[in-house]
Point group: C2
Chain length 563, copies 2
């Protein structure tokens, strides 16, 4: 096959293939042409093209999230690269493997007045696992070997339990477009140093005694679906001393668990010691609920065991006692082998009892509402979602509203909760939908976040298996539902992002077929119709009543509280 005449480019491509990278997202440019040529000619890779680098990086994140494998990004030199940064930070905090391949000018031309030239080397240092710089002056066997090993070491991060973004900056001299027939394979991986000794032996030998007679909370953060974990945790939670708190983004559903953390914390008296835990076991990534952080920070459990390879030093609840760098399914497998006595309390039952009251009451509270508010829309929307789909939630109020309702069996929940930014949720979803074309994907967004990332609609081909619902509450509804500015005159200007931009016209400009609801009476029918797979509309804009939204939400919480 044809390839670039630059040996360094051939090494990069061969190493990517060797390390099982299959998807690469390009943004058009000139300096990265040798990489585009070489990847394009190699049939092992599927290439995608996204113009706006900010979208491209979130799109790659969506591919990686869905495929659960490392995905590569490639752009030209200059500020193009900097546009990747928001998604790189998100990938870093979600431990998602992204390979950033940035084309650069040769070092002697940096800061010498050439166009599209910045200091790219190590520019993402704070938020990548490894960052290396390569150049195309690689010819001798020694130079080739050195480059192979450098790249193999960088790519080996993707085989670690703790994954994340890796940056390869590649300095390329002109001419850029020359090709040769590929004559050699430069793939070379490092030997796997498997460390099989169990570093947690001491921990498990003491755990049995500690678990005895204790009230235990397992708090689950964001994670992909995980069948083994599901089974082990189900068994562990058969013990009535064990309360499992999950969020929809944990993708762990079970009748025994509590799925709506903020809702239950609103119902219980946090100062009542019978609710407080002796042991907190935390697994997974970010937790959406702010209240649970406050709960554990004020009523600190005696032990907090953090389980998982990622961010082992993270002490979210300010009471970390052990950090166990093993995966959660192995952890619970080991706990399930221990024999520790339950105490006489039905700790999980105490919580669950309250939870069931709220869950049962919700249809009654919400089905009689007749006003087009955010809360109502989410209730009906979630009720109408078809089975076996993937639901992508934008940040700010969307992800919080969705937490108020028990997650739907068969549905997977995704959201950019690494950094919780409003900047790339649409592009991430488009990437995920492209990666997994056989399932329907639904995306719910507020209109501010949606317009922010409207260039996601510029991606081609635009996935047919994606339907977008935009709740337009005229700007930043989040500030009406979190604790914050009450009557401040600055509220609407600086905190809420108020504006009157219609979203569907923007989507139409990018070629999407849209529908719009601004009348409560039409909500149920129009929504059901839109969500139907046969309907080929791609975006539904729902205008909710900005002033009524917080009133409805507070009244909901108040009703629940009294149960």
């Amino acid at each position: 096959m044809l390839t670039s005449d630059k040996i360094i480019v051939q090494i990069v491509v061969d190493q990517c293939e060797k390390h099982k990278i299959k998807h690469i997202v390009f943004s058009p440019g000139s300096r990265n042409a040798p990489l585009a040529i070489a990847f394009d000619e190699n049939k092992a890779f599927t290439t995608h093209l996204v113009h706006d680098e900010r979208c491209a990086a979130f799109f790659a994140l969506g591919l990686s999230q869905e495929l659960e494998e490392a995905v590569a990004l490639c752009c030209t030199s200059g500020t193009a690269l900097l546009n990747y940064y928001p998604a790189i930070a998100e990938a870093y905090y979600r431990s998602i493997p992204l390979l950033i391949l940035s084309a650069d000018r040769p070092e002697h031309l940096i800061n010498q007045g050439d166009g599209q030239t910045i200091m790219q080397k190590d520019v993402f240092n704070k938020h990548v696992h490894t960052s290396i710089s390569l150049n195309d002056q690689v010819h001798s066997e020694n130079e080739i070997m050195e480059a192979q090993l450098q790249i193999a070491a960088a790519l080996s991060v993707f085989a670690n339990a703790w994954k994340g973004p890796v940056h390869l900056n590649i300095e390329l001299e002109e001419p850029l477009y020359n090709t040769v027939l590929k004559a050699k394979n430069y793939a070379k991986s490092l030997e796997n140093k498997k460390d099989d000794k169990d570093q947690n032996f001491a921990f498990f030998s003491q755990a049995e005694a500690i678990l005895e007679n204790k009230k235990i909370v397992v708090l689950c953060g964001q994670m992909p679906k995980n069948d083994r974990l599901e089974r082990e945790l189900d068994q562990f939670s058969d013990n009535t001393n064990v309360l499992v708190l999950v969020e929809n983004t944990s993708n762990l559903q079970n009748q025994k668990y509590i799925h709506c953390i903020d809702r239950i914390l609103n119902q219980i008296d946090e100062n009542d010691s019978s609710y407080q835990a002796d042991i907190l076991i935390s697994i997974g990534g970010a937790v959406v609920s702010k209240k649970i952080k406050t709960f554990f920070r004020s009523a600190k459990p005696k032990f907090h065991w953090r389980v998982g390879a990622e961010f082992p030093k993270m002490d979210t609840y300010q009471c970390l006692s052990s950090s166990l760098e093993i995966n959660a399914e192995d952890f619970f497998l080991k706990l399930n082998q221990l024999k520790f006595k339950k105490n006489s309390l039905n700790y999980s039952g105490l919580w669950k009892q309250k939870d069931i009251l709220a869950k049962d009451k919700i249809p009654e509270i919400l089905s009689e509402k007749t006003s087009l508010t955010d809360l109502c829309v989410f209730y009906h929307l979630l009720n109408h979602l078809p089975d076996n789909c993937i639901l992508h939630m934008a940040n700010s109020s969307v992800v919080r509203y969705c937490q108020l309702f028990d997650p739907i069996q068969t549905i997977r929940y995704e959201s950019n909760r690494g950094t919780s930014g409003i900047d790339g949720s649409t592009s991430t979803t488009v990437g995920a939908a492209i990666a997994n074309p056989n399932q329907m994907h639904f995306f719910i967004s507020g209109e501010t976040s949606f317009i922010y990332d409207s260039n996601a609609l510029w991606i081609r081909p635009f996935p047919k298996n994606l339907k977008i619902i935009v709740i337009n509450n005229s700007g930043g509804g989040i500030f009406r539902i979190i604790k914050g500015p009450d009557n401040s005159k600055q509220r609407s200007r600086y905190f809420e992002a108020q504006h009157s931009q219609k979203v569907s016209t923007i989507a139409e400009a990018f070629g999407l077929k849209t529908e719009c609801i601004s009348d409560f009476k039409k909500l149920k029918n129009s929504m059901a119709d839109f969500l139907n797979k046969q309907n080929n509309s791609q975006l539904l804009e729902i205008h909710t009543k900005a002033e009524q939204n917080p009133i409805d939400l507070y009244s909901f919480f108040n009703t629940i509280k009294k149960l």
Copy 2:
């Protein structure tokens, strides 16, 4: 007046006022609320609101470019900040003073699982002049004094001859919305250490002898209009040994100078030593022409004097002999006081003669064309622009096409040539138009760059004194006019950014009034009509013939070459 109850916020605001910052661009958020409240209440500041932080930073750059003063930016914590980076890099390479005020969580919550939290401290380190981190635990007199001095030192960068971006990261604890009556002014500036001794004494004492009998080129990069420089350079160039090469972005027009560098280099034989210079004096920022870099790098002048405070070590032509950190007007004032003999050659006349031939020929070549190509559109467009306006040029092919025609007297030319990215030209222009509402601003962009930054159209109020012309050649025409891929099958996919997105529908979705031309016969009338101030259309989309564009351009260069 009211202000935030946080003393550190009061100090920041007072120091900004003391250091003459008048404009501040906010993006909505919660963590930056104390700053929003305090700046908003103080009548010394004009506040702007831009939702998308990438646009916000370019918008601030446009304000600063136009006002020639430091402008502040303020956003919430997390990835919001990272979206500033492309504009910060542009500001860094154009030496434009921007103050970045990023709100952050308190340090003990970084990497502890809180939302919208990344490692903000020093995150822009490579591309800012100073970066400091502050927190709100400032109460004692000593703590106050230390904060005052730290901030004063950071802001003093804006008084330096070499300006650029400065980053203040401010850690703020909750509660965020409390206010107090302002009781004290915390402004405090550092003593000015003026260093009046002339460090260039040795240089000027030798310059007279060196200049004797030499062929001298003054090459002018990007700079704002500068009356004093205009006068001094006019006098210096009376010497016929002196050739002045300017670009439209130099904003230095004079009948004696050569204004179209690529055009003239296409006409002369670069190997003919009579054209080669003995001394190169370079002033200003970036130079658009790539050919002039090649010209001087291959036929190196004996001396290259770089003049100006910015990037003193930059050696663009690989022959730097002296770097003089004084401003260009003072430099030429001093040269004008020297007496050095001309040689007998009319060096500038040799070049100018060729230049006049091309200039005279252009109307003849282009007025008879009847096809809607980029070149034709630029010719007619520049002919129809009204006097006394400001022309903003997007990057890639637009800025290069505009260099082919002598700049128009009374028009100022602006472009993001610091990093030459396609990412923020529209937002920059919107900022400039807002800053200077009494002049008409015109913005020419390709459609890829325009869609990239379409969130610029979301800025409110949208300036009424701005008209946008988008040349839609269906994607990245730049790769058809620069040396590059000839018949590569990857060309259209990876290098050219081909797409068929209509631009005017997007602009309309954001509320702009648009017009469209896709027929050559209508070009002149429709364009004249659109450019008329009375016409209230805001965007004109012109569809040019992608295949014909490079043919037209090469034929133009060939005709000029033979003159």
